[in-house]
Symmetry: C2
Subunit: 166 residues, 2 copies
């Protein structure tokens, strides 16, 4: 899997620059993150590693995520109304999110015109932007078709059931 190896390399380079070390734990985490797609939570990651019998502590997971965020390889996002989610930033550049409050699904989008207007506003307010975050909450196409009402807790419960602490 050359794509994943390239990411490990990228991280390695970042670490070296900072005088930090590439450990087996960090490698394993980067591999896991970049071989799955889209968004994940810290606890999910912890759980997956445990599933694979790779022993990595909660602290290390959080520490590694912090480093990945610093390196720009991973982004921290608020999806919906909860704790943090993370998403990896491989080739795929900036995008924003449509979040379905029924099924929890996430649709990414990018609109250069919106970006441009945001820059214009910052200029007008003499504000120097470093990052932004646009989420639109609502109901996705397939949930609308199934006549779902917003706020179905099913998926949330499912996720919680698979979560394993300690």
């Amino acid at each position: 899997m050359p794509a994943v190896a390239r990411e490990v390399d990228r991280f390695q380079q970042f670490l070296q620059q900072q005088g930090l070390k590439l450990t087996s734990e960090r490698t394993a985490l980067v591999r896991e993150i970049f071989s799955t797609h889209y968004h994940f939570e810290a606890d999910e990651l912890l759980f997956k590693m445990k599933e694979k019998s790779v022993k990595i502590s909660r602290a290390t997971v959080y520490r590694t995520l912090e480093l990945l965020v610093k390196s720009g390889m991973v982004r921290r996002v608020h999806l919906g109304e909860d704790h943090y989610h993370y998403e990896h930033v491989s080739g795929n550049s900036h995008h924003d999110h449509l979040i379905c409050t029924t099924c929890g699904g996430v649709i990414e989008f990018h609109d250069e015109e919106i970006e441009r207007l945001q820059r214009a506003i910052c200029e007008k307010k003499k504000f120097t932007p470093t990052f932004h975050n646009l989420q639109i909450l609502g109901v996705c196409e397939s949930c609308t078709r199934r006549g779902e009402t917003p706020d179905a807790p099913d998926r949330v419960k499912m996720i919680q059931a698979t979560r394993l602490r300690k």
Copy 2:
């Protein structure tokens, strides 16, 4: 202060509709919220009530905030990268936020063109939006002038020092 009284009234009406009761605690909280401006945290509110020697428990503060959110009088927002913040929705309609990562200041803005583009995207993706949330993080004008670098922890520490638990 007729404006605040009007808000209490509005809440009263909402409660009645739901078969709920207006208590002295709820009145006190609504008064506090609508007499201060802009954004606040749940703990801040708790602390302010304690300062005024109005005895209201943590649980009641959270419960009342939930009701206010349901009634549409208060909105829950993510400002920066932390826990929840709340803002009241009196006359002032929807807006988004520029958040200064140096001083913690918040500038509100509204741009109808951005709103329109968002609706267009939802339509294209057949997504039914219910709410959205746009934050732009960066450095505000006065912090830029003071040559501040992002991420000054001063204000955060200050807030934490004034916070009082239990």
